[in-house]
Amino acid sequence: MGFKLTSRRVFDSTVGIVAFLALWEALPQLGIVNPGYLSPPSAVLGAVLDLASSGDLLKHVQASLFRSFAGLLLAIASGVSLGLMMGWFARVESVLDPLLQFFRQTSALALFPVFILFLGIGELSKIAIIFWASFWPILLSTISGVKQVDGLLINSALSMGANRWFLFTKIVLPAASPSIFTGIRLAGAYCITALVAAEMIGAHSGLGFLTLNSQEVFQIPSMYAGILLLAVVGLLLNFLLALLERRFTYWRRGLRHGG
């Protein structure tokens, strides 16, 4: 079954957005809500265009993307490899698990002062907080993915003479990949939250900084522009991760037919 863009479908998916934008435009324009607090979408769009033409938009988006990607990629690399080790070697897990249970309850925001203390106010501490927030869901879902691999698949491969390397790379890793990607998708969402927090606490660039700074200097339209752009970045990241997930777990969709 293909995804068909029927006119009804297009209507259904746009009608809510259009109604929302209309209401948002009307409320401040009609003076029902103070336009000083709520800028209408037309003004927000204007602010986005201004930011784009001055080059500030690119600067902020670049800074935010760099931080979130750096933090997320580090979290994926380390979370997946540690998770695989912990899921595979029971001993590694029993040693590290109590420690990790404690750390995962430690809020990334609470640790920010520590990161600043050690890593300074620059990029490193921001990447560290994003890393911390994204790391845990990836680690935990990788561990559970490895532990939940169907024992029958392992036994079957063993009975054919598979060695540990084959078991790990050709059975455990693909079998665990759906669970790993669930963790990565979740990490994508956490990563944006941590990004905003980091950029609001101590930064001179980035969409989080833009949002808070605009409010402080009472540039309300560009404050809303910052919020909107953060949402766009979040959507974009989720979309990218969903693509990646599809690439690696296509066999689960049941849509591919041979020929």
Partner: protein, 288 residues
């Protein structure tokens, strides 16, 4: 006569468990298990579920460890996985992320066969099990019977001497099951392997085998072995002949005591229903 392919001598297997009071206890699964499997024969091990027949197969496959006795394959004590054996499980055990063809080629891949060569071999076995045109399907797109065909092709593709089959057709509906039994005989006829076939179905064991070994209740051992002197090739109609019914009655008589004993034993309450259904089934069949 040639030396037996597989010899199990006074084989035993037990595991530690905690009883209801939390005390450690030893649970014997196999005890005094003796069996000889001849080269090239089709031998079925028949027993009610829970009697330890799958445990024997896991030991033979190298997936479980015996706790006593001897187990020789080709005259040598079995150590770890025997690469000359193929195993077919009831649950198919196909890799869901691989196409049918790539699944069939797994064993060859493990043996380091080149990609071109293993896909070519896999195609031969795909054809053997009658699944031409399904090469690039994924397992979830196939029916249970087709999945088991893939699993059989996979275990044959690396050309083992012995095929171990652990209730391979138990999850299939009656028609598919009978079709696959005939298919298996056809394949066995062209690729002479030694087959050890685990089942709890009297009909299946008799229809397929040269010899049927009946097991006792747990702790399991071989109670009785008898030859099935029915001519081959065996056609489905064979099931309705007088000779077949005779063998069925004989097998049921051997099995019945084990089943009825168990139903009287309160400790086996968890599997009670299981025994009963077999007893009913057997009773019904004898009445035919």
């Amino acid at each position: 006569m040639a030396a037996p392919k597989i010899i199990a001598r006074d084989l035993s297997m037990e595991y530690q468990a905690r009883d209801e009071a939390g005390r450690e206890e030893r649970v014997p699964v196999l005890e005094g298990f003796d069996l000889q499997v001849r080269e090239g024969e089709f031998l079925s091990i028949l027993g009610p579920s829970g009697c330890g027949k799958s445990t024997f197969m896991n030991i033979l496959a190298g997936l479980a460890h015996k706790t006593g006795g001897d187990l020789l394959v080709d005259g040598k004590p079995l150590q770890g996985i025997n690469r000359n054996q193929g195993v077919v499980f009831q649950g198919y055990a196909l890799l869901p992320w691989r196409t049918v063809l790539d699944n069939i080629a797994v064993g060859l891949e493990i043996r380091g066969v080149s990609k071109a060569q293993r896909l070519e071999t896999a195609r031969e076995y795909l054809e053997l099990v009658g699944l031409n045109g399904f090469a690039s399907r994924y397992p979830h797109e196939l029916s249970g019977g087709m999945r088991q065909r893939v699993a059989i092709a996979r275990s044959l593709a690396y050309d083992p001497d012995v095929l171990l089959m652990d209730e391979p057709f138990a999850a299939l509906d009656a028609q598919t099951r009978e079709t696959l039994q005939s298919e298996l005989l056809r394949i066995w006829d062209t690729h002479k392997k030694t087959i050890v076939f685990i089942t709890h179905s009297l009909d299946e064991a008799i229809f397929l085998s040269d010899r049927v070994a009946v097991m006792t209740q747990r702790p399991g051992r071989i109670k009785e072995i008898f030859d099935i002197d029915l001519a081959r090739p065996r056609l489905p109609e064979l099931r309705n002949t007088q000779a077949f019914v005779h063998y069925r009655q004989r097998a049921w008589e051997a099995l019945r005591d084990e089943v009825t004993d168990i139903t009287r034993e309160p400790a086996a309450a968890a599997t009670h229903q299981n025994w009963q259904s077999i007893a009913t089934l057997g009773g019904y069949r004898i009445g035919v």
